[in-house]
């Protein structure tokens, strides 16, 4: 039977892929192999939790040349006899997914949030129609590339892995890396936060962020926003955006201020345990998915909340 091959450039995501692979293998009996590329540390990490690692060392490979990396993965698929390829659905992994799929002429599903195996069929859930719906899909055939969303699976544990070497060839690259800049973010990951205080287009000015920030602080939470606040107004960095093209958050408590509730936003917060919506429009869509609804101006509500909680 064709093997399951996993690859992510990120250690944490590779460990999650191993869990996903084990779920599938538990039903289909397929053997799992893990590929690492120019990353001996990751090879050890995966082998330590029981993965059979195939290590590629290709000093000439430009890791930013995603098509070249996809070529290496495709060679791994070929040599190791893999059919199902699991990749991470972070940006790097998603870019790889389409490329690997075309190299091995596979069907491909990205942004997978859950997997269920039925009669050997790997049924995947992902958002569709801009997040308005959740589709359940599978690939009919033996070549499948599945890109799995970060945190959809827990990190794998275990023991008894192995490390082997894999020889591949690298073609010359048309891409040169001039510079890599680490993002100078305050390194807050809103996906990890237990409490989120988010502002949307109801926010009148950048100065008003201070009161939102103060509320987030007093609740032990973090500040986040809908896409226009970051992309159009640039009042907050892009890594604070909740939604389809931003972060998928699962806090215990989300307080949403001045957010109308377009589906591209709500898809990023609908897994919150409790949602509070404060909006001037009593018919705002966001109220449909809120546990507590307060129809009022955020510019009056937030200072009062700060007084009450301060």
């Amino acid at each position: 039977m064709a093997k399951i091959l996993i690859y992510s450039a990120k250690d944490t995501l590779a460990l999650e892929l191993l869990s996903a692979a084990r779920l599938i293998a538990g039903e289909t009996g397929a053997e799992i192999v893990a590929l690492t590329i120019n990353d001996d540390d990751q090879g050890r990490i995966l082998a330590n939790v029981g993965a059979h690692v195939y290590r590629v060392n290709a000093p000439d490979l430009v890791m930013a040349d995603v098509a070249a990396v996809a070529d290496v993965i495709a060679q791994g698929v070929q040599q190791l006899g893999a059919g199902v390829v699991l990749l991470s659905s972070d940006r790097r992994g998603k870019e790889l997914a389409g490329s690997v799929a075309q190299f091995i002429e596979a069907g491909c599903i990205t942004d997978i949030s859950a997997i269920q195996v039925n009669n050997g069929r790997i049924e995947c859930q992902r958002n569709a129609l801009g997040g308005a719906t959740v589709a359940t899909q599978y690939i009919e055939g033996d070549k499948q590339v599945l890109a799995i969303a970060p945190k959809a699976f827990p990190a794998a544990s275990g023991e008894g892995g192995s490390i082997s070497e894999l020889q591949i060839t690298v073609k010359p690259s048309g891409i040169k890396v001039r510079e890599t800049k680490t993002k100078d973010s305050d390194s807050v990951n809103i996906e990890e936060a237990a409490v989120i205080v988010a502002a949307g287009q109801g926010l009148r000015s950048k100065e008003d962020l201070a009161m939102v920030e103060a509320l987030a602080r007093s609740l032990g939470g973090v500040i986040a926003c809908s896409k226009p606040v970051a992309t159009d107004k640039k009042w907050l960095p892009e890594d604070r955006v909740i939604g389809l093209s931003g972060k998928q958050c699962k806090p215990d408590l989300a307080l949403l201020f001045g957010i109308s509730g377009q589906v591209q936003f709500t898809v990023g917060i609908r897994d919150a345990k409790t949602i509070v919506a404060v909006n001037t429009d009593e018919n705002a869509t966001i109220n449909q998915m809120a546990d507590y609804i307060l129809t009022a101006d955020m510019h009056e509500v937030i200072p009062e909340l700060n007084r009450l909680l301060g």
Binding site: G98, S99, Q102, F103, N127, G141, V177, T231, L294
Partner: protein
């Protein structure tokens, strides 16, 4: 130079209603994906700075596309190349990639092919990467900035934790983030002129695309998630704080 912008026709997402958890697509107007419009904007900005550039709008879909494409021609596209077939509306990424790659081969001397990093509806993000492979061109996704210098593009690719400044040999496939540029709103004159801009249409037979497909993606169901929220209306911040405290959601 020739820049091709590949755009996907999608239902206007703001107008999709949900009835019994099912999306209602009847009477929903068709448009192009939001990020695709940013890709078009990026091409038009390059044209404005470089001069001698032709911006092609490339799309594959149902016959309504002939109407939808006017939107893109009004917003700065110079000429459209459309592949029309009823089966292409909602077709699998692998089919669309083959069709677009075949379409690009029909256009001469293409230097740069732009995509949105994901379509507005499925946001699967595969087609650009697949087309790059089919045409054996370099691929850079998630671009926030593109500058052209001769036969090289300087691209800023934005990842979750870092940014890469890359030099890419043209021709190349680049997929862009919506941050690359806010799509312009065409003037009335531009809208009127759009209908007169040149359009080429092709059918699948013209491109030699066969109907068969290996490893297709099958959709078993597509439903809105169930929401069982409490929807309790509170009158003021004091009442809100009381409720949240009673659920131990906030301290004090």
């Amino acid at each position: 130079m020739n820049i091709v912008v590949a755009m996907k026709q999608i239902p206007d997402l703001q107008q999709i209603r949900i009835s019994n958890r099912r999306p209602v697509l009847q009477d929903v107007p068709l448009t192009f994906g939001g990020i695709d419009k940013s890709a078009l904007e990026a091409a038009v900005v390059l044209k404005e700075s470089l001069g001698e550039v032709k911006v092609w709008v490339l799309s594959a879909g149902s016959e309504e596309l002939e109407d939808t494409v006017k939107e893109a021609l009004a917003a700065g596209g110079d000429e459209a190349y459309l592949v029309i077939d009823q089966s292409l509306a909602g077709a699998d990424s692998s089919i669309i990639a083959q069709v677009l790659a075949a379409g690009i081969k029909q256009l001469n001397d293409v230097d740069l092919i732009l995509f949105g990093e994901g379509s507005g509806d499925n946001y699967s993000g595969q087609v650009g990467a697949r087309v790059a492979r089919l045409l054996e061109l370099p691929l850079v996704s998630y671009a926030r900035d593109i500058k052209i210098d001769g036969d090289t593009a300087q691209v800023v690719r934005v990842l979750e934790d870092c940014e890469e400044v890359l030099e890419v040999k043209l021709p190349a496939v680049i997929t862009v983030l919506s941050d690359i540029g806010e799509p312009r709103i065409p003037s009335v004159t531009q809208i009127l002129k759009a209908g007169k801009k040149p359009k080429q249409t092709a059918e699948l037979d013209d491109l030699g695309i066969s109907a068969g497909q290996s490893n297709p993606v099958i959709t078993l169901s597509n439903l809105a998630p169930e929401s069982n929220r409490k929807r309790i209306v509170v009158k003021n911040p004091v009442e809100l704080v009381e409720k949240l405290k009673s659920e131990n959601l906030i301290g004090g």
